[in-house]
Each structure stands twice: as C-alpha cells, then as structure tokens.
C-alpha cells in the first residue's frame, strides 16, 4: 500500500482548471519531489491533500484511508503534516513556545485546563529536542518576529516535524534561505528516519536532487514525467517545460 | 387586510430609510475594509444640520439639500486625516478602526447633547407632501410614500452609476482588488475619502428625510445604526445589492413584529440575523469567499 495515493484528481476554480486528472503514488519511505513552473498547481495540490480545499473530483488516500475534507487537523493527527510556502508561525510568541504548542497537539495534555503547560515535561522536552534538531536552540527564547527569514523557514519545517508525521509535505522549504542554511536543511532532512515519506515542492534543483529519489514534473496540473534524477534530466519535454528555464 | 397593507408599506418605508444608511456602510466596508460603527453619528449630524437650516430658512427642501454637506465633509475628514493614517501606520487592524469609530459614535451623541441638550426636535412636513393618498383601498401618508420613492430612486441611481459608469467600474474594481485601482493611477486615498464622505452624506440625508416622521434627538443615531448593522450582515458585508434586499427584509420584519408581535419587537430582527448566520454565515446575498 502506498503511503500517499492520489487518484484521478481534478480541481477547477470556476472555469479555470488547476489540476486535471492527476494520479500519483508515493510509496512508504520514498523521497518524492514535485516540481514544475509557477501555476502548475503544486500548492493547490498540497491544500487538497491536507484537507484545506475540496477537490472538484477524485480521491486522496493516506495509508489507504480517504482524506476527510474540511478537517486539516484530522489529517495531521492521521500522520501527515506539512510546512507552508508562506511562513505560518505564531509571530509574537517565542520559538520554544511555537515548538511546544506544536508538540502539545499530539499529547493528551492538550485538553488540560488548570495545570501549567510547562509542567508537562515530556512535551517541553520534545520541543527542546526539535529546536536542537533544527539548530534553533540559540534563538529559543526569541520572539518569532525577531528571527531572520531563514530561521523562520527552519522553524516552519520544525513545526511540521513536531507532529511526528509518517508523511511530510514540504512547500518550498529552501525558498529565501542562504546557501549555508540550505546545506544544513539538506543535511537535516537526509538525517531523518528513513521510514518517513517525504513529498517536497521546491524550485531549487540542488535541494531537490540532494534529497529526493523520485521526481514528478507537473505542468498545468498534469503529470509531465515521473522518474529518477537522470530520467528527468534527460526527458526532452521536461527540459523544454521547466529545466530549460533554469539550466539554460 | 387593510391594516396589514399599511403596516407593510410602513415596513417598506423604514426599509428605505435603513437602506440609505446601509448602502454607505457596506460601500465603505467593501472598499476600505473599515467597519464604521460611527455611521449613525452622520445620521444624527445630518438631521441636526438640516434642523438648523430648516429653522433659519423655513424650507424643508433647502435643509434636505444643504444638510448632508456637513456629514459629507466630516466623513471625508475622518477618513482622510484619522482612519487612513491609522490604517497606514500598519499596526492598527480594521478591528482597531471599528473600535475607534465605536468611540466616535458615543462622542458625537455626547457632543450633540452638549450643544442642543437632550430635547426632542422635529422638522415639519413640507406642504407639498402633506396629506394622504388613497391607494389600493387604504389611505397612506404622502410623505411616507415620498420616502419609499426616494429610497428606490437612490437605489436605482446607484445601480446605474455602479454598473454603467467609469466611476462605478473603478469602485467595483476597488472592492475586488485594491491594488488594481492604485495601478490605474488613481489616488486611492482621495477616492476613499470621497466615498467615505458620500456614504456619510447619504446617512445624513436619511437623517433629514426621517425628521418629519421621527424625532431628532441626541441618541437617534445609536439606535438606528444597530439596525443598519443587521442589514449589512444579512445582505453580506460589502454587497450593495444585497443590502437593498436585506433592508427590505429587515425593515418589514421589524415593522410587522412591532404591529403583530409587540413582545418580539425589540429582538425579532436580531433573531433573524442569528438564523441567517447559522445557515449562511456569509450573509443571504454575500458572495462566498468575500469575507472580511
């Protein structure tokens, strides 16, 4: 059974078709990249997979279970979490608090109403661990709105990881980061458990090639090609539609 | 049956009055994303300025013509010198601005009371519109028919302006996409101030129109503005045509409740609003997705 399976997915806004008859299977543990020019429907696809937007038709199965539309929280609880293309952070609280709240979402303590949230040491510990993992431990007590853009991108991914997902969707995690930050991001993602399935949307091809085994090229909501790095690089259609713009 | 017809017409008349307020409120919200809780203040302002003019000149018509000028100027100044700079300062959200205008509503009522006292005033019905007309077997006051006609005329004029003219096209574009209007090279701040002034002038106009049948007093704007909120929410915030239909629904509901269900008089329209919010949170006529 695939970790993530997309069947016959269609999405149209009014008359404008964003995604048309998309089929995609991502087996467990695969590192799968989704590339394509702007407007190819990548972010819309993420929104549909995570239950934020209903598809016009078609089906999404996560570990064989159909996604319940309109309940993104249940999708996350079901083991699929995502990072956003635009930072979605709790801006005026600290980095640690962002991570702590993220870790708390899975803990039974989230319903607790009279005990201090810092007394649930397991949650706090996991937040610290996540910070260390993401090299955010130096800015732990800073408010998010004081962070650099690159640090915010790291936090964005860190929050998604706090959900302890089996499938991780990352929407352009490297956008706007420095080469150093990018290198450490690659190192970090490659160090994650091999059981974790990753679906990555990214424009930076170096990041894509460094992380992913399989690449799917989308164009106007359709699959143009799927294959390994070499297959994609030598596919004439892909070169024309996408890579050509960058590697010309 | 006859009584029902009279009540129905009374309801329509109230609707048209509230529509004059609602159209400005919803236009301002749609264009500038500002919920102007002080809209009722311009209603009061227009009525009192009209009263002053009527007392000086003895002419209702002059009052109707000149009265709205004060709220027009005041609204323009408020938008241009207070709300716009605060909004641009960035930190203030449209919620802050709503709260600010909440203060303004009470400040205006207080200022009016300070100047004119808490007495009730009224402007006499103009001679031309005195008396009653026979209509479908009932006698109905001519002046109330006049209000209905004014409301419909203004609604029709607005539809014409907004659907058919360049100004209207610009406004429609502005509601949908603010950046685009700026891109057209139009000074958006001036446009906003003018629209704000126009909406305020309409509210003031309503204040004078209502003067022969309702009293002029310091808190007059506070009562009616809440009814106006109900109208704009039922119609869908920012939806002009929706506010016309919603005004009809709310005005008629309110009047009929007063006549036939006096116990429910003060809460019928709110109960209706809540029912609308339960089943259609975006308003009866609101386009889904255009949410504040």
């Amino acid at each position: 059974m695939s970790a993530l399976e997309i069947r016959n997915l269609r999405k149209a806004f009014g008359g404008l078709q964003i995604i048309g008859d998309l089929d995609l299977k991502v087996p467990s543990g695969q590192r799968h990249a989704l590339i394509g020019p702007n407007g190819a429907g990548k972010t819309t696809l993420f929104n549909i997979i995570t239950g934020w937007q209903p598809p016009t038709s078609g089906e999404i199965l996560i570990h064989g279970v159909p996604v319940q539309q309109g309940r993104p929280d249940l999708v996350t609880r079901g083991g699929l979490s995502r990072s956003f293309q635009k930072n979605m952070l709790l801006e005026s609280v600290t980095v640690l608090e962002n991570l702590r709240v993220a870790c708390q979402a899975l803990d039974a303590s989230r319903h607790s109403i009279f005990r201090s949230c810092w007394s649930f040491s397991d949650v706090v510990r996991r937040a610290h661990l996540a910070a260390e993992q993401m090299h955010l431990d130096t800015v732990l007590h800073r408010n998010v709105n004081e962070l650099s853009y690159g640090q915010k991108r790291q936090l964005e991914v860190a929050i998604a990881l706090c959900a302890e997902p089996k499938i991780l969707l990352m929407d352009e995690p490297a956008a706007g980061t420095s080469p150093d930050e990018r290198a450490s991001l690659i190192k970090l993602i490659n160090g994650l458990s091999t059981e974790l399935t990753i679906l990555l949307v990214e424009h930076d091809m170096d990041v894509v090639f460094a992380i992913c085994d399989v690449i799917t090229v989308l164009s106007y909501g359709k699959v143009l090609a799927t294959g390994s790095k070499e297959e994609i690089q030598s596919n004439p259609q892909v070169i024309e539609a996408y890579l050509g713009q960058h590697h010309a | 049956m006859q009584i029902f017809l009279i009540q129905l017409l009374n309801g329509v008349q109230l609707s048209m009055l509230v529509f004059l307020l609602a159209v400005g409120l919803t236009l301002i919200f749609g264009l500038m994303n500002i919920l102007n809780l002080a809209h009722g203040a311009f209603f009061t302002m227009g009525a009192y300025f009209g009263l002053v003019v009527a007392n000086k000149t003895g002419s209702f018509w002059l009052a109707l013509l000149i009265g709205p000028l004060l709220p027009f100027v005041a609204g323009m100044l408020l938008q241009f010198f207070v709300l716009q700079p605060l909004a641009q300062r960035g930190r203030s959200t449209h919620l802050d601005l709503a709260l600010l205008t909440f203060g303004l509503l009470f400040a205006t009522a207080g200022a009016v009371e300070y100047i004119y006292g808490s007495a009730f005033h009224s402007i006499g019905t103009p001679d031309l519109l005195k008396g009653r007309v026979a209509l479908l077997g009932i006698e109905f006051p001519l002046y109330r028919l006049f209000i209905i006609a004014v409301g419909i005329a203004i609604a029709a004029a607005l539809v014409l302006v907004i659907d058919r003219t360049l100004v209207g096209a610009t406004l429609r574009a502005g509601v949908d996409n603010r950046e685009m209007v700026t891109a057209l090279g139009i000074n958006i701040n001036v446009l906003f101030a003018l629209v704000f002034g126009f909406g305020s002038a309409l509210a003031g106009f309503a204040g004078i129109v209502s003067a022969p049948i309702m009293s002029i007093y310091s808190n007059m704007g506070i009562g009616i503005v809440v009814t106006t909120f109900v109208v704009v929410v039922v119609g869908g915030l920012g939806n002009l045509k929706g506010s016309f239909y919603a005004a009809l629904i709310v005005g008629v509901t309110d009047t009929l409740a007063q006549a036939y269900l006096p116990e429910a008089e003060l809460f019928a329209i709110y109960a209706m609003l809540i029912a609308v919010m339960i089943f259609r949170p975006q308003g009866l006529f609101g386009a889904a997705g255009r949410v504040a």
């Binding site: 803990d107 949650v123 | 919920l35 203060g103 207080g110 200022a111 949170p281």
Partner: protein, 337 residues
C-alpha cells in the same frame, strides 16, 4: 548522529536542563505580594469612599478579565459581552426572587446555565471572525437586551430589585456592611482571577494564544480549533456572569442596561487600557476606567462625550495598554542587564 527525534523522542531525556521562567513573570511576582497586602488591608486605612470605589474596580476588573480571555488571549473582539453580565444578575434575581431558591443554589445554577448557553452562542459566533464576529456578538446582546426590556416576568425595563447579598453570619459578618462586602468581592475576584490565570497558563490557554496568532497553523498542527474557541467563549462568559452577580449584589438590583452595548464597549475599553493578553491588565484597566469615570462625573454631565473621546484616544494611541508599556520597560531593562 541521531537526527531521528520523530521516531525516538525519549532517547535524549537529559537534554532539558531548565524550564524558562520569563523575566516578566518574575517582575510581576515581585509586585504581586505588596499589591495583595495592600488590597487585604485597604479597609483599615482607606475611607469608605475609597473602599466602595475599590469594590467597583474589582467587579469591573472581573468583567474585563472575562473579555480579556476572549479578546486578548484568543483574539476575538466581542461587542456583546455585557449580555453575560446581565445573565449573571438576572440569573440570581430570577433564582432568588421568582423561584425562591437560596443564593447558594441560584448562583451556581446561574453559572452552569450561562456556560451552556454561552457554548451554544459561541458555537454560532465563532464560525465568523474579525468584524463579523464583533457584529454577531453585538446582535446577540441586543437581542437579549430587547427581550429583557419586553419581558414582564422580570419587570421589563425597570428590572428587578431586592437581590440578596451572601449570608456571611457564619463568619460573624453582615454583607450589607461595606467592609464585609468588600472582602466578599475581593475573595470572589481573587478566585476568579486565579482560575483565569491557571487557564491562560495551561495547555488550553496556550492553544488560545496560538489561535490568536495564527489559526490556520493551529489547525495544521492538529488542533480542532473550533472547540477551543467555543471553550474560550464559554469561559469568558462565565467570568462575565460572575461579575454580573457581584454587580447586582453590589447595587441590589439588575436592569436591562447591564446588557447594553455601551456596557460591552466599556469592558473592551478597560481591556485595551490595561493591556490585552496580560492577566492583570484588565484589573489595571478597570481601575483607570472607574477612577476616570468618577472624576468625569464630578466635573461634567456629558458622560457620553468624554467616554467617546477617551475611547478614541485609547484605541488610537494606547495599544498595549498600561501594563504593555511597563512590560516594554522591564523587557528593555532585562535585555540590557
């Protein structure tokens, strides 16, 4: 290198050495002791007028604290919280005067009913956000305000009188005595604020703050945010109802004006003055508001005019409030140190 914290999260238990105590928390703790002593000793040195004023401040403070949970912490600005103030007053009035229940039955029953009703109202209101939330809460409060004016059972716009104060004879006290009533209000207010403080520092409270900061992200983390918002709405309502009970006991009566939207606005104003999302902010805001209102009533009858101007100035220039300004000062000092 063990970078797989996702699957083996308990491996590195020793990583955590200290739990952070925010500097602000410590500063408040230092201020809190003397403040508490001052409040407890107030009737021994202050005049009767000051004690009465303090009672009004505490009642308004509880009301504003309820609003603060919803507005400051959860980020939902309501203009209808006065309806719950009214529910509290009417609840015990109906319970004691019309149904003949003792106060110690009426009050808890009132609070439980308010929680249930508020959860239902909250379920409807929290489907909207921003100015629409503000308008729908206003509509709800106007509806109950209108109903209270019309309802003959509760004497319409005249309201109900003869609301009992608690029987403190077991303690050898008479609650009709201003000093005894002061201590009663002080205890209830302290308890209410303590509970609120527990709530906002709890996991539940941290979710509310998260919703204020970024609701989409909270949903994406896996929180069913709708339930938290309804919970916040209900808890805020119960707090406001507690203030309503105290208020009606203080004046011995309740009338529909308790539910007017000006009353709701005053509550929001106190929250802004004191500084939203600081637990004692509303109390400070209430103190400033009550004192300013008293001072104004001595020099002018045009209360509306000054209330309105005051409101506008506070909103335009005073975001963050008194405690916000102090926090910034302490924060700066802390950074330099």
């Amino acid at each position: 290198m063990s970078t797989d914290f996702i699957l083996t999260r308990d491996k590195r238990v020793g990583a955590l050495k200290r739990l952070p105590v925010p500097a602000l928390g410590r500063a408040y703790a230092a201020l809190f002791g003397p403040f508490a002593v001052l409040l407890c000793a107030l009737p021994f040195f202050a005049s009767g007028y000051v004690v009465t004023l303090a009672v009004e401040v505490m009642i308004a403070g509880v009301f504003a604290s309820g609003i603060n949970l919803l507005t400051g912490y959860t980020g939902l600005v309501s203009l209808g919280q006065a309806m719950f103030l009214g529910f509290g007053g009417y609840g015990i009035a109906i319970g004691t005067a019309l149904l003949g229940w003792p106060l110690w039955v009426s009050a808890p029953v009132t609070l439980v009913l308010v929680a249930v009703i508020a959860a239902a109202i909250g379920a409807i209101c929290t489907r909207t956000r921003g100015v629409e939330f503000l308008l729908i809460t206003l509509a709800f409060s106007q509806m109950f305000y209108g109903a209270a004016i019309k309802l003959r059972w509760t004497n319409g716009s005249d309201g109900m009188t003869g609301i009992p104060r608690p029987d403190l004879s077991l303690l050898g006290l008479n609650a009709d005595n201003p000093t005894a009533f002061y201590y009663y209000v002080l205890s209830v207010a302290a308890l209410a604020l303590l509970m609120l403080w527990r709530i906002v520092t709890s996991p539940f409270g941290s979710v509310l703050v998260g919703i204020r900061e970024n609701e989409r992200r909270m949903t994406s983390m896996g929180y069913a945010v709708a339930n938290y918002k309804i919970g916040s709405f209900a808890l805020a309502a119960v707090t406001c109802a507690v203030a309503g009970i105290l208020q009606s006991q203080y004046t011995y009566f309740v009338n529909p004006d308790a539910m007017s939207w000006q009353m709701s606005g005053e509550g929001v104003l106190m929250v802004i003055i004191g500084g939203a999302n600081v637990i004692l902010g509303p109390l400070v805001g209430a103190a400033v508001f009550v004192v300013v209102k008293q001072a104004l009533s001595m020099i002018t009858e045009e209360y509306n005019l000054f209330f309105g101007i005051f409101f506008m100035l506070v909103v335009a220039f005073f975001r963050g409030g008194v405690l916000g300004a102090i926090s910034k000062l302490i924060g700066k000092r802390h950074e330099r140190a």
